[in-house]
């Protein structure tokens, strides 16, 4: 099964056709899909995140790796569902707060969370506190990640956290915040559980706070 290492390399190097080809071959040969995900793809995406954090990877490279993993996952996911397996991955909600339509950073975080084995439900941009709460309840999310690119929209993070408190759901979720104007000081002041200045570090923090630990 030496060829499976090529799946790791294809994700790491952002090569969607090869990632898909190797996944197809692996599935034909009845390789356990969990092995493909956990042993090869998550390991590759962890490395992509680490390289991005060290400024060794540009955003386009990260996006290509995410595309490779998505392509492979599109083949694997239906199998998991048809086997009637319960999805045991942790659900993470991502979204850009109300009034803000910027999503590059939020999408990078989403890609790396998926790469880290999370089930990501992305609410898109201009997301109201009510939408965050509704999605968190519906998907039994354990992680809520909010993004804002501007100081004008940043207070929406506090409004959303307050809404979770009012709904009695604050203790059910870990809330992470990020985006260009966000600081550690701000995150603490508004009662978020954490902040990081880049997507890769955000995933590591999420895993730490959820007790998943670093792979």
């Amino acid at each position: 099964m030496d060829y499976l290492e090529k799946l790791h390399d294809a994700v790491l190097n952002g090569d969607p056709p090869t990632a898909i080809e190797i996944t197809e071959k692996g599935l034909e040969e009845k390789i356990d899909p969990h092995i493909l995900i956990n042993k090869y793809m998550i390991r590759a995406m962890d490395e992509v995140g680490a390289r991005f954090e060290r400024f060794e990877y540009f955003i386009p490279q990260l996006l290509m790796s995410a595309k490779a993993m998505k392509g492979a996952m599109a083949l694997i996911r239906p199998l998991l569902i048809s086997e009637g397996e319960e999805d045991t991955s942790i659900c993470a909600i991502t979204g850009t707060v109300k009034g803000d339509v910027h999503d590059i950073g939020k999408n990078l975080l989403g890609a790396l969370l998926e790469g880290g084995g999370f089930n990501v439900v992305d609410l898109g941009t201009n997301v109201s506190p009510e939408q965050f709460i509704e999605a968190a309840e519906e998907h039994k999310a354990k992680l809520v990640c909010m993004s804002a690119l501007l100081t004008t929209t940043m207070p929406g993070m506090q409004t959303t956290i307050d809404a979770f408190k009012d709904a009695g759901l604050r203790d059910d979720v870990i809330v992470l915040v990020g985006g260009a104007p966000v600081t550690d000081h701000f995150a603490k002041e508004i009662g978020a559980d954490g902040y990081k200045d880049n997507a890769s570090a955000g995933v590591v923090l999420a895993k730490d706070l959820l007790g998943i630990g670093k792979k």
């Binding site: 955003i59 996006l63 595309k67 803000d100 201009n126 100081t151 104007p181 600081t183 701000f186």
Partner: protein, 247 residues
Amino acid sequence: MNFKLISCEVFKHELLYCINKTHNHIDAEFIAKGIHDLNSEGMQNRIVKSIRNADDKGYDAILLGYGLCNTWVFGLSAKKTPLVIPRSHDCIGILLGNKQKYLDYYFENPGTYYQSIGWMENTENEPSIKKRSLQKLYGMDMSQEELKSEYGEENLDYLNNALDQTKHYSNMAFIDTGLVSQHNYQKKAKSKAEKKNWSFDVLKGSIKLLQQLIDGDWPESDFFIIHPDEVVKQSIDDDLIQALPVT
């Protein structure tokens, strides 16, 4: 009064007009808008360089023609001369002359791309800034040709879409600050909006805040004074910024 003005060039037309009308003596220095493309530390370092140059020249105050512009202002400290800055999220709030007016329009029209004369005149970055920009650092400055040769034509649409910061924009607002000769800029902005298939709006701007800055008329609700030996901290209320003693 004798003031040093250190400002983003985005306000150059408006501030020169205000300087002509004031009784104060103003030494004006305009800094490239492109420094917004650096990280906060890089932007602060550039502005601090000018502040320190002016600090022991005996000015009554150093006026800063900037908003929060994300986080550059946090950690800024005054040494000998007080620093004065409008309480505004960014230049758009300053050009509209009122923080609340900006927020009202902003939240009624998410996804608006704002334009003014200063924005339209200063689109090209100096090579020395480009080299150190966040776009460069994250590989977001690649041309179509570079993206194509590096990642293949088949991935071009995917990457362009993912990297497009304005993909969810749907409106352009031109801020008319009432100075003459804005017509051509307005026309250009409108045609840019049409090309993008965005709606187009003209907002009545105001030079009130900029004139107050220059005149030394600094009500606490709109201006923030950083006294010597104070450092700027983020404030999560409507004041936006606060000052604490340097520790």
